[in-house]
Amino acid sequence: MKIAIILISLGILGFYLMDIFFGIGFGVQHFSNGVKDLYLSNSKDILKVSNVVTSIVVNFRGFDTLGEVTVLFLASTALGGILYKKRHHVGERSVLFPASRIVMSGAKLLFPSIVLLGAYVFIHGHLSPGGGFQGGTIIATGFLLMLLTYRNYSVSHNRLVYFESLAGILFISIGLVGYFSKGSFLENVLPVGNMNDLFSGGVIGIIYIAVGFKVAAELTGIIYTVLHEKD
């Protein structure tokens, strides 16, 4: 009886929600003076960035990206704080069985190219699809592959902290340079160059490289912390 009442009320709720959602009309022109046209024209004419998503994420709404980077930083910090006591010492990790020789050689072969692909994705964030978050994640998967394959593979914890902190400091320093020289946090201070060049878009490329390093270091740190947890 209880279940029936719940199902019926959920059904009614669901029907009206669907009704309203279909009324939103995605892809239909609702508004003429929204911000989307300004984003398009400004990133083409003023910032000279061909990937509009990147110019929105890093420049128009760069403050949000700073917040998202901080969210990731917080997640890895909180995880490190909670799992602290349960960490193994380096080199005594419990892999259930060693990987086969094929996997070991394959992983060694793939690892550099995975890192290279990640670096390519975040360096070309303002030209092609992808960016700092995506590139950083790709690099972290390379480390995950190595950690899963080799029993004694270890990443220096201090080195991860250096990368993470320095990349974060670089991001905020760029913002503060804009604040002190132009009067607005994260404002572009470098020449924008020509569209579709590697050196275009001013600070956007540099910020995305910092984000890439930071995301890669943080995700690797999270994987490392979790893999090294004792039972």
Binding site: I20, H30, F31, G34, F60, T70, Y84
Partner: protein, 494 residues
């Protein structure tokens, strides 16, 4: 003007990234730097408040793009007042927990201070931002540092509390995104002032639906009645000072968010009635539940939820007097509840389940802490020489001015319950004998300073409420004047 609002976010984040590096060189820096940063934020908020009272609201653009395109921060008398309150409390929480885990482990204490600093930063960001998606990002920052701090003791119960909080917080974030998506799909903008101006263009059905999603999402952080299942567990299991940080800082930011939505963005009559109804239910349920608790921190948690219900009621009255009363209540609750959490943690220190009966006879062993707890209890009930009296009086007069007689009756009856359960604890402190042999913990000197500071504020505001009423009056006027907010933000020329 010495600084500008963006430093409230930029400096703490810079410090958070620097701390892991300095911690490798000088271990004490992980405790000192967050304190310096929080003190800087408090000083900055005072200096900006001085500027605002002379020159009017500061609107700051980020990345050099004017409001509808870029993100902006608004430092008005209203947001500035809340920023000042939060940064002050953040500093007090830091002072109280300065010696936290001092001799145990280096790494967890470093993470604790980073998370605490970013919890305050996120709350200040929620208050200052003028953009709903940016508000979402700051709510995420607050929630994630909250999850980390809740499970900090890595016990079974604290993990359960953190998981509960995580679960509700994750669903709330999804709802918040849906609400933002509905608004963007209809109006094509994310700026709060721009949305407020274009709101009449939106279809009524979608308007109500997005408001419902917003209230559901923000209600989780604001501890509104059916959504506050996480709160008592979190307050009980988190480290003592974090309870104060939640009650004084995080919940205030969430209440701000819902008020900004209803007063500035939506602004229709039904929403105010919704506030009164939600507030009343929260107030009645929480205060009656608090009466039945046998653990001290759970009782304080339910009392905190109840006070938030009262704040919602005061905002729901919808007049300038109501807003004034609500802000006064928020200020008082932040100060008094932090004092209660600080002193209460020492009264039940070292006890296994932290039952109320453990405070028996503590008046002899911990005289100063007991007096401070008593001051806090009397103040939160609303006894005359303390600051809580003025805020409760302000709520009642605001309700009387709007001819809501039944509301006054309900508030007064529930206040009796509040008096019963607080005086019960005070009675146990002074007139019962201590039975168990467990050792009492003397408060460390920095914790004592933090508690005495808060106690003095409670007494001073009790005798001279005029010290603060000027700020409150300007803040209330600022919130009520929606047209001015829109004008200030949209006509900025950078």
């Amino acid at each position: 003007m010495v600084g500008s609002p963006v430093l409230f976010v930029a400096i703490p984040l810079l410090a958070a990234f620097i701390i892991p590096l300095t911690g490798m060189i000088w271990k004490n820096s992980v405790r000192i730097i967050p304190g310096l940063v929080l003190a800087f934020m408090f000083a900055l908020s005072i200096s900006l408040m001085g500027y605002v009272s002379e020159h009017g609201t500061i609107v700051e653009v980020i990345a050099g793009w004017k409001p509808p395109i870029g993100i902006n921060l608004v430092f008005s008398p209203f947001t500035g007042f809340l920023t000042m309150l939060m940064t002050f409390l953040g500093f007090m929480v830091w002072l109280y927990s300065y010696k936290f885990k001092r001799n145990v482990d280096f790494e967890p204490s470093m993470k604790y201070f980073i998370l605490l600093m970013l919890l305050v930063t996120g709350s200040v960001g929620i208050v200052l931002t003028g953009d709903i998606f940016n508000m979402f990002v700051f709510i995420e920052i607050v929630s994630i540092s909250g999850y980390g701090l809740t499970s900090f003791y890595t016990r079974r119960d604290s993990a359960e509390a953190a998981f509960k909080f995580l679960f509700m917080g994750a669903i709330a974030s999804t709802f918040l995104l849906i609400a933002i998506m509905i608004i963007y799909s209809q109006l094509g903008t994310l700026n709060i002032a721009d949305i407020a101006e274009k709101m009449p263009l939106m279809d009524n059905k979608l308007k109500v639906l997005s408001l419902v999603f917003f209230i559901l999402a923000i209600g989780v952080e604001a501890e509104i009645f059916p959504l506050n299942g996480w709160a008592p567990d979190v307050y009980t299991q988190a480290p003592g000072p974090i309870g104060a940080a939640f009650a004084g800082i995080v919940v205030k930011a969430a209440i701000y968010a819902s008020v900004r939505l209803v007063y500035t963005m939506y602004d229709f009559g039904g929403a105010f009635d919704l506030f009164i109804i939600i507030g009343l239910i929260t107030f009645i349920v929480a205060e009656t539940t608090a009466l039945r608790q046998d653990r001290l921190k759970r009782m304080l948690a339910y009392s905190s939820i109840g006070q938030m219900g009262l704040v919602m009621i005061a905002f729901g009255i919808g007049t300038k007097e109501g807003v004034y009363a609500a802000l006064f209540l928020m200020f008082n609750h932040a100060i008094i509840k932090s004092l209660l959490f600080f002193s209460g943690s020492y009264l039940v220190f070292n006890k296994k389940n932290k039952y109320i009966k453990h405070v028996n006879g503590m008046g002899k062993y911990l005289p100063i802490t007991s007096v401070l707890f008593t001051i806090g209890s009397f103040a939160i009930i609303g006894l005359p020489p303390f600051s809580g009296f003025w805020s409760k009086l302000a709520v009642l007069t605001a309700a009387a001015d709007s001819k809501m007689v039944i509301l006054i009756a309900v508030i007064l009856i529930i206040s009796i319950l509040e008096a019963v359960y607080y005086l019960r604890v005070v009675n146990r402190i002074y007139f019962f004998d201590k039975k168990e042999k467990t050792e009492t913990q003397k408060p460390s000197i920095n914790a004592l300073i933090a508690m005495i500071c808060l106690g003095i504020i409670v007494l001073v505001i009790g005798f001279y409420p005029d010290l603060i009423s000027g700020y409150l009056d300007r803040a209330a006027t600022d919130l009520m004047d929606k047209g001015n907010y829109i004008k200030e933000v949209l006509t900025i020329n950078k």
